[in-house]
Amino acid sequence: MDRGGSVSAFIQCAQSSPSPHRKDSTMVVFTLYECTTKQISPSKRKRQGNASGNEDVTPEDRVEALISRANMRAPVKKARHLRHRKQKIESMLSDSGIEEDFETPSPSPSSDAGCDSPMLGQSHLSTPLIDWQNFREYGDTCYYFQRNNEERYHPVNCLSLQPQVTAEARCKLISWLIPVHRHFNLCFESFCLAVNIMDRFLMTTPVASDCFQLLGVTSLLIACKQVEVYPPRIKQLLALCCDAFTKDQLCNLECIILIKLNFSLTAPTLAFFLEHFTKQRLEGGDELCKRRLSESGQTKNLARTIAELSLADYAFNRYPASLLAICSIRLADQMMDLHYTISQDLSGYPQSVVEDCTESLRLLVSLNGEVLHSLAEL
């Protein structure tokens, strides 16, 4: 069984199968009509997807894939699916040498401050983490600037101009990006930024539905280039899309996104606000919380998972990131049955607004109960 087969099975279960045609079409054209002519009808596509899935696709997979297609509001299903797939993929990757590729910094003489120095034999040494204690006196000022910038980067109703891309498709794509970014060990910041870049691009340009997945991975790549020391390689991302797109297509789209967004890529993210509020509560003399540092760590993980779900659901697109962050933490506190909850005063939002958003999140979580558990374990 070759690597391509298993990856393609993975993608088909996680996402609707991209049409096999795409490979030989030369350009990703972001006008609706060019792409529609090549589109296969949904039912036909489904069949094709499963047929090309090789022996690796078990009957259960097919059923699951169909369920997840039908039940698009449940990012959970796909994620759960990914989890037992994941090990398989990883072992495969290390066989094929892609793993090494992933570990080694980019061979291009590029930028990242010459990560390609021979000094970096031990990769764990090469990426020290900043912990929040180091995030010294500038922390609060940064927060105010981020809050100030939030509205400018907030893509409200980003799908309103899209003739083909629907809320369901967006949910499906983002739900797929969640396990993808975890698979590459990318940080939450990259993921949030990717969603933001994608949404803001959707506000500027109509995207054909069969190019939508390409937009997802390209946004992820751009986000990673800003945030990560070692962004994923293009060929890895393309492999995750069953090689339905070519490298040229991805590179062209990358340029188009950068130009359309005018290189304004520094959106304040949910990840930033989650960290900020968590840090605030620890510093803010919350004694009970201080004593239970480990619990607050768990709360943070849960809050992050809730935040991921909310990014995938288009209904939450209207809430600003800082509001989603404070509400995710509040809900996580409540779900963990803690006797304290984070004070909404930290965010400056009125109580009614915070409560409304928290209740919506609670509903979202209850609809995605399983996902939450499996994601939290990943």
């Binding site: 401050a113 000022t141 105010y144 280039k225 800003q226 290189f263 304004s264 209207r318």
Partner: protein, 333 residues
């Protein structure tokens, strides 16, 4: 703001001369086609889309994204990005960045300094502006990561501008960073030792520049207690004895200057001064209060600059007070 924020495909500049060359392209002096007195510096980056490339390189994305972010504030000590032209064909990506033109960088400026060295007030002025620029960057979550005289421009009127954001990045919580930053001479010890680092690495580099303005380089040994525990390099492999602190490194530096320098070059990043704290240091204050030396005109100008307004405005912005209610409710149907 005269500069358009849109990325344009058109190119209204006439190239006059090549003034520099980097790994990815050349820098030219140019002038505007209409207003012939408007000089600009143009950085042209040409990238062939070879098979080995991972798309647009990170440094380009970061440089332009960072400049886009901070240029909205128009800080006097940060170089201004006037325009970006990008064009993208099947084989090539062309990116042209148009910057304001500044005559000289600090490195060539220092070479032209007479042997007796720079006057102290001059050094003070340079440092004050440099730290203002750094403080501004750090407030906006940007670490420059390659501060050195070559990347500090000085205009004929003595205005300092930080430039070259190719290694800069936005920092945030829990962020992985590569240790391969900052030109070696200016690299802070925590980077050399693969520890985590933050905005304080820029302050270390600023300290190096400070020492260099006195036309000297010096080094001292950190005490063993401050050495990171899990560092791959041992303290004893560098220094046989502890306590070889340099007490009197620079002869022509006054006491306050020495104090400031030692605080810049503090081994432990947590103990190191921040750019904001440095600006409060008596080294600057005494002179500021002393007399209205014509030199300080630029500094007071800087203080009155809209940059400082925006900062206080940001804190007092109604968004964070009453208006928060109405704004958020608006979004709700």
């Amino acid at each position: 703001m005269e500069a358009s924020n849109a990325i344009t495909g058109s190119f209204d500049y006439e190239i006059l001369a090549e003034i520099g060359e980097g790994a990815y392209g050349k820098v030219y002096k140019a002038r505007h086609l209409k207003n012939k007195l408007d000089f600009v510096a143009i950085k042209k980056i040409k990238l062939e889309k070879g098979a080995d490339r991972n798309g647009v390189p990170s440094f380009m994305i970061r440089e332009v994204a960072v400049l886009r972010k901070i240029n909205t504030f128009d800080h006097p000590n940060i170089v201004r990005l006037l325009d970006v032209c990008a064009s993208c064909s099947a084989q090539e990506l062309d990116l042209t960045l148009v910057f304001e033109y500044i005559d000289m960088d600090l490195a060539s400026y220092l070479k032209s300094v007479p042997e007796c060295g720079l006057p102290r007030e001059k050094i003070r002025g340079v440092m004050w502006q440099l730290l203002s620029g750094l403080d501004f960057l750090h407030t906006h979550m940007v670490i420059h990561r390659d501060l050195k005289p070559e990347n500090i421009l000085i205009s004929s009127r003595g205005r300092i501008k930080v430039t070259d954001f190719g290694l800069a990045r936005l920092y945030s919580f829990n962020m992985a960073l590569t240790p391969e930053v900052v030109t070696l001479w200016y690299r802070a010890p925590e980077i050399l030792l693969y520890s985590s680092y933050l905005s304080s690495v820029d302050v270390w580099s600023a300290g190096c520049v400070f020492a260099e303005l006195h036309l000297l380089r010096f080094i001292g040994a950190p005490p063993q207690e401050e050495w990171p525990e899990n560092s791959p390099l041992q303290h004893r492999s560098f220094w046989s004895e502890t306590g070889t602190h340099t007490q009197n490194p620079i002869a022509n530096m006054d006491e306050l200057g020495k104090d400031l320098l030692l605080k810049f070059l503090c081994f432990k990043p947590m103990k190191r001064l921040s750019a904001a704290e440095a600006l409060e240091h008596p080294y600057f204050r005494t002179e500021m209060e002393a007399l209205e030396h014509p030199y300080f005109k630029t500094e007071t100008e800087a203080l009155e600059h809209p940059y400082f307004k925006t900062e206080t405005e940001a804190l007092e912005h109604p968004y964070f007070k009453t208006e928060a209610t109405s704004r958020v409710v608006e979004v709700w149907p």
